[in-house]
Symmetry: C2
Subunit: 400 residues, 2 copies
């Protein structure tokens, strides 16, 4: 297996550190628009890793880099603006493809908070037949959320329930960052994108529909000492992926943003600072959202100042195999102190990065195989969960 990792930011760098301990692949080319960042990501990890420069907005550039290094699998670890050129570039070069976020949505032009417009992943699913016909696999949304959360949904449906009423991905943390008034632990660009877009919900008798941002607040109790966190509906790939392969009456995603973060996002939106279209400022043009990101510390550099745990998981309610009501929460917790000590990467990016490495190892071993555009829930869950545990990062389950 010869991997091209596109993006040497927080998640990409953590993926290098995780993959460096595994033997399943021959080469990993780590490409970034910033050659210095790519070089930093591979430094000290041995000669299977090669730094490269790439313009991720160019499918041709991605394809050329694939051909140059005879790439078999492309792992996309940049922000979701670049999904389509990397996806198309991998296809053009005959490589398989993995990502952790899908092609972007566009709200319904007239009823944005009621109906879906272009949905997350629609552009990728639109060409699924071409991928199938070519015998190529695009495994989409294989980070932690989407990713491990989808694997949990598959596992619950197969192993724990006779019938599923609701699948609700729930994400919460008790992370703090010393020395900053406000320092998000994940890409603010992506967080704005997913939190301010109209949240999407799926119901079996209604299909996909949207709501206003921050809808249906609920306090969810997270395990391992994190405790209760207020969660709200957020647009997320799981809601688009899970219903394609798993039978359920309702699928939601709620993010434990907390009140302060919700207020910040509301204010950015109120002031138009969430926008991506360039505005003229003095003699130059900039995207306001890029300015917001530039004013905040780079989340990948905050690991030393972070404390606490982050939890990703899937809550499922339905009827157990014995015919009785059942409710479970399948989850994965990473303690920042552990991920910093073991890998030198902070908890949120480490938790995202470990899953595509596990997936690549399953593909290398043949335990996962397929063609077309697939979500993680299209593939068997047990080998994934077993190998994740084998990586030293076990998952857990609470009966509720």
């Amino acid at each position: 297996m010869r991997i091209l990792l596109v993006g040497a930011g927080g998640v990409g760098s953590a993926a290098v550190a995780i993959a460096a301990r595994r033997t399943f692949f021959d080469t990993m080319v780590v490409a970034d628009h910033d050659p210095a960042r790519a070089a930093r990501a591979v430094a000290g990890h041995g000669d299977r890793f090669v730094a490269a420069t790439v313009d991720a907005s160019s499918a041709d550039a991605v394809a050329a880099l694939c051909r140059e290094h005879q790439i078999t699998h492309v792992l996309n670890a940049v922000d979701p603006r670049f999904v389509m050129p990397i996806f198309d570039g991998a296809f053009a070069a005959g490589a398989d493809y993995l990502d952790m976020a899908m092609s972007l949505s566009r709200p319904h032009p007239d009823r944005p908070y009621a109906e879906t417009g272009v949905k997350l992943g629609d552009e990728q699913f639109a060409v699924a037949d071409q991928w199938s016909a070519a015998g190529r696999l695009a495994l989409c949304g294989i980070g932690v959320e989407p990713g491990l959360s989808d694997v949990f949904a598959r596992y619950a449906a197969d192993e724990l329930f006779a019938e599923v009423d609701e699948i609700g991905v729930r994400d919460g943390a008790n992370l703090t960052v010393d020395g900053y008034d406000f320092a998000p632990s994940f890409s603010i660009w992506t967080t704005i994108e997913e939190c301010l877009n109209p949240p999407v919900v799926w119901e079996a008798d209604r299909g996909w529909y949207t709501t206003p941002p921050f809808s249906e607040p609920e306090v969810f109790e997270f395990p391992e000492g994190i405790g209760p966190v207020e969660c709200v509906n957020v647009e997320h790939e799981e809601v688009l992926l899970i219903p394609r392969w798993v039978d359920a009456r309702r699928v939601t995603f709620k993010y434990g943003l907390g009140n302060e973060f919700i207020e910040v996002l509301r204010t950015l939106h109120k002031l138009g600072l969430d926008g991506t279209a360039p505005v003229r400022v003095g003699g130059v043009s900039v995207s306001p959202r890029d300015v917001v990101a530039a004013c905040l510390p780079d989340p990948a550099t905050l690991g030393d100042r972070m404390r606490g745990k982050t939890c990703a998981g899937t809550w499922v309610r339905g009827t157990g195999p014995d015919g009785n009501p059942r409710e479970v929460y399948l989850y994965h917790v990473v303690d920042n102190e552990w991920s910093m000590r073991e890998y030198g990467h902070q908890a949120v990016v480490w938790q995202t990065a470990v899953n595509p490495v596990v997936a690549l190892e399953l593909l290398a071993a043949g335990a996962w195989r397929g063609t077309g555009v697939l979500g993680p829930e299209a593939l068997p869950s047990k080998p994934f969960l077993d190998l994740l545990t084998g990586y030293g990062s076990p998952w857990g389950m609470e009966e509720r």
Copy 2:
């Protein structure tokens, strides 16, 4: 009198419309960095008005323009970053000078929320002797606040009180802007500057000192139907000007920001978006605060969508001439519906702009005269208040 007005934004354009109805001056040159904006400001107001282009950051450019047009009085109507070059340029060219905001402050390096550092106007007062020696007048802070509020302080001390305990400038409004989630009715650049700097307070036995932002909240009852508004301490020129010429035990400035606006300002600060130092974004450098301003509608263009009234005024507490305790609020209210109908300019910029025009007319008539760097409270209050009423915009007083 030959006037150079620097800045054809909201306040500058309103000043043109107000001055156009008065006969006291011969020429007004209206200069802006944007020639189209200067041209728009003078259009239709007759041939006493001349549009020009100027770089307000260059004292040499300001002086050259003064000499070219034999300017006798420079009126500065741009944001306070440009106070010093315009002030210096006027002096170099032998012109008198008026502004509506003074040179900027810099917080105390170690104790920003307890002690003053460089205070508002310090750079201007530092050269007051040179202005006096040259027989030239710099009349500083002669908008509405500072400006009319300082005239009210002078009037109260001279005419209404035997002894003054406290002078508190209080500003509040019930303005709304149709069609926008958030649309400040005044320059956001200046609002951020004055609201996020440490507020300054003056006490006779302590001198000037500072507090954390948004300190000492109080609900102040505004007249003419505006009603109660939550006001907080804000850094403002009156606190630096009034104690130099008026005896009082305490001087404060409180701004009726309202909770939503305070939250917005807190969030901008938390995210570093209030900063003026350029940040790198992609291939360019921009000041985050300029980006915030660029994302919001231009307040000067919102008059048609605005509704309500704005109130500026000075609350005074002390001992009346009869030896009894007295408390008054001297105020000036502008109804946006009136200012739009009469002048085509929204209430907040119109209320700011009328005062320097009144002051220029008093200087032209010789009713106001002086040399050095003076605040409005250094000059007699009655001629000013009478002429303001003569402009069709009377002031009011409430005994409390």
